[in-house]
Amino acid sequence: MTPLVSLRGLTRRFGGLTAVNGLSFDIVEGEVVGLLGPNGSGKTTALNMISGALKPSAGEISLRGEAIGGLSPHRVARKGVARTFQLVRILPSLTVIDNVVAALAFRSAPLWGDAARAEAEALLARVGLAGRGHEAAVQLTYIDQKRVELARALATKPSLLLLDEWLAGLNPTELRTGIDLIGSLRDGGMTILLVEHVMDAVRALCGRCIVMNAGTRIADGETGAVLKDPEVIRAYLGTDHA
């Protein structure tokens, strides 16, 4: 079976700093994979290269066998890669529903007009914002803005969803809700790569984890085993605790 997404030797240098160094892994359809690692280990840089925000210095990214590495973000988005952002990014001057309609309007099979509004309502209901489309997006609470961002990402009809610390900054109750929401996407068959520091969420959602340190992959496997891996613990906590 061809993997949905495949990274080969992915590298990104910023001047003398190599943020991601020869990163390779595959994700098959329907997998929910956690991308872990200490701050500065290159997780977000990797995500940015997959979504097109950054061009790789070297290496290949392919989606269903088609090379997408180095394409501009709007092309990558139309090929079926959607993402959310580490710091939530809603469209502040638009209403909640227009935040979603905007994404429906520019995907590869675009929707516009009444069809887009109906689909946007359905997506808002999907993320728990039923009937709140008319509200100003900026006035929503933090978690609701995250929901809008998620609905907007889903609106592009992605085959791969990239979540960059989508659960960060939520209180325990919201976290529970958030985990359930992403769990429901997983149960619906969505392929997700999530960068996450909340270990409860990683354990609950990800069957498999990839751990990065200093730009390289140091572990890749079943979540429970990976989190017990001495090298992973060393990367997170330092040598003394290993």
Binding site: P73, A77, L91, S93, A136, V138, T156
Partner: protein, 326 residues
């Protein structure tokens, strides 16, 4: 329903304006030509600059291209063909400029567009003096002032219609998303460069046509006349005063300012430039509050209230608050 009423009112207004030449003397028609010209320029300017935030001072570059195309071709081609050729030249120049400059941000874009107008003026001057050996050209077209006025009025209506359509189309949505957050825009599949270039080209072609249609008014044309940078500044100040991102905003700014400028030049012919400069300063002085106010309102929670009715009018809702401040 609101749309239908709006269209009906606009149609009646344009119909009445079209009848005006039958009741006015030559001076009156001349005033209407100037006013309609600036309303169209300011609206076309607002279509691009008001919706993207890229402040263009290239207005007179395209205006002059239109006028010069007519001056250069008026003895060789039939008039409608000349207009098409002028629009075509405007389109090509806008495409080249758009592709070359839309990576420039903020003040760099402003400076580039200002330089562009001057560059084209110097190029035309150089071409005329060294290649053709003349600096001025004559335009002899059998067009009365009322014909020019009707053409401009039609172009003005087309400009407003295009603006209305853009605000309701996917293109308009793309612009609003880009104005809000370019990173999000690109990640939901919006081709930012293409969107901006498309709008720049539409705006530039309309501006070119204003120059082309107005050209026969001059009879005698030379670069210093048709590439006068004051045109760019007047257009900008009119559109900003009225609210550049709103359908009717530029018109609302252009009409009073045009009348004021006319009155100033008629009553203070020797001090016109000084008064104009003072007026610019006063408006710009008052505008920072205005423009910042507009931008804050754009992002303000109250703005989308008008949009609750539906996606059919979001740009209006967004811009309505602008107008209040403008």
């Amino acid at each position: 329903m609101k749309t239908i009423i709006g269209f009906a009112v606009a149609a009646i207004a344009f119909g009445l304006l079209a009848l005006a030449p039958f009741y006015l003397d030559a001076y009156g028609i001349g005033l209407l030509i100037g006013m309609t010209g600036y309303v169209t320029l300011a609206s076309a300017w607002g279509l691009f600059s008001g919706r993207t935030g890229y402040v263009s001072l290239a207005t007179v570059a395209f205006f002059g291209i239109g006028a010069y195309a007519v001056a250069a071709l008026n003895e060789t081609l039939p008039y409608p063909v000349i207009l098409l050729v002028a629009a075509g030249i405007g389109l090509v120049v806008a495409l080249i400029v758009g592709l070359a400059t839309l990576r420039l941000a903020g003040v760099y874009f402003v400076i580039f567009t200002f330089g562009l107008a001057e560059l084209i003026r110097q190029l035309v001057t150089w071409f005329e003096t060294t290649v053709t050996g003349t600096l001025g050209r004559y335009i002899f077209l059998p067009l009365g002032p009322e014909h020019i006025y009707w053409q401009l009025l039609a172009l003005c209506a087309v400009t407003l219609l295009i603006t209305w359509w853009v605000d309701r189309s996917r293109l308009g949505m793309a612009l609003r998303v880009i104005a809000d957050d370019e990173v999000v825009a690109s990640h939901i599949g919006i081709d930012i460069a293409r969107t901006k270039i498309a709008l720049f080209v539409i705006s530039a072609v309309l501006i070119t046509l204003v120059g082309a249609i107005q050209a026969p008014r001059w009879t005698y044309v030379e670069p210093a006349i048709v590439f006068n940078p004051t045109v760019s500044f007047l257009t900008l100040i009119m559109a900003l005063l009225g609210g550049a991102a709103r359908l009717w905003g530029p018109a609302l700014g252009a009409i009073p300012l045009f009348i004021l400028f006319e009155w100033l030049s008629a009553n203070f012919p020797n001090h016109y430039s000084i008064l104009l400069g003072l007026l610019f300063i006063v408006i710009v002085f008052l505008l920072p509050r205005g423009v910042v106010g507009l931008l804050e309102r754009l992002r303000a929670p109250s703005a989308p209230l008008d949009q609750a009715a539906g996606t059919s009018a979001p740009a209006q809702g967004k811009a309505a608050s602008q107008e209040v401040r403008g």
